[in-house]
Assembly symmetry: C2
Homo-oligomer: 186 residues x 2
């Protein structure tokens, strides 16, 4: 039974709540109550709720970047890696009851016009886009064509996430997966 310090406990608790009910749907009082900390401790580590949101998105970004890096370093054709990335998305959405993309969900809020949060969203999205471009460039020689293909897969990935959330069904992911794989040569 480990008991991390207050700062980490707050981040983990808030992360779970933000993801489940959205940034604007969770209050600080609930976060500190579930994290078992005092409000003074909260404001010692996070000067505002927005800064906590930034820290949450940054942590998520680090995790996903790590997975993409590992996937890129593994051997195997790009087609298979793209397929695996979509499979992972499907698993994630099912397990999280189709809560969708935390970045898109946060960006849909008017509070997200805070520059720090907006920058986190942009950074993550551009990183994901770049990931697909790299995978495409390994299968496609022509530079412009590879970039275009990577962008197409990126849009498919985003649409799959969004519509799975809206419809609470998995089929958008499987459809997007097939479409993405078809974009890459054998």
């Amino acid at each position: 039974m480990r008991k991390p310090n207050a700062k980490d406990r707050i981040l983990e608790t808030a992360g779970a709540l933000f993801f489940q009910r959205g940034y604007s749907g969770v209050g600080i009082n609930e976060i500190i109550e579930k994290a078992g900390t005092a409000k003074a401790s909260f404001y010692q580590y996070y000067p505002s709720k927005e800064s906590l949101c930034e820290a949450w998105l940054r942590a998520l970004h680090d995790q996903s970047e790590n997975y993409r890096r590992v996937l890129l370093e593994e051997p195997g054709p790009s087609r298979e890696k793209v397929a695996r990335y979509f499979d992972r998305l499907g698993k994630f959405l099912v397990e999280s009851d189709f809560r969708g993309c935390p970045y898109s969900n946060t960006g849909a809020l008017s509070e997200a016009n805070c520059p720090g949060i907006a920058e986190q969203i942009r950074e993550h999205k551009e990183a994901t886009r770049n990931f697909f471009r790299i995978l495409a460039s390994r299968s496609i020689d022509e530079h412009a064509k590879a970039d275009e293909t990577g962008d197409r897969i990126f849009v498919l990935y985003s649409g799959a996430t969004a519509e799975s959330q809206n419809l609470k069904e998995l089929w958008p992911v499987t459809v997007a997966r097939s479409a993405a794989v078809d974009l890459l040569p054998i």
Copy 2:
């Protein structure tokens, strides 16, 4: 200088505000103030804020359904119609400063678990999906293949909307447009 009744004025004002800043970012007090009505008038026509949201989404849905119906009835190949539909999306996003899809934005909120709102979202998304399936079926003979293609275009459309919003850039729409057109035979 027309002056519609209070009910319509509320719906129009709320619609513009909801779209601009999101359902949770706008309060009733602001709506009635900008609409120039009294709070009592508001609650005479809309028993709750949620019911107003439903009415807003329903009105949006009727408008978009109407456009799709007209587009389907016009002559011309499916490829061109799909291309026009994406062009219209791009124009809409640019003019609205990349506020994205009102349905997806509302669905990202925890308040959207209200059954009425959730049903509106589902209905609209299924209608859009069906629209692309119809267009695909006119270009593709095989039934299953046409449905699959329509679904792929639907996912592309959704991803274009979402990422244009996240990145505040138009390229996801143009990329998705090309990808969608390529899915249909000449």
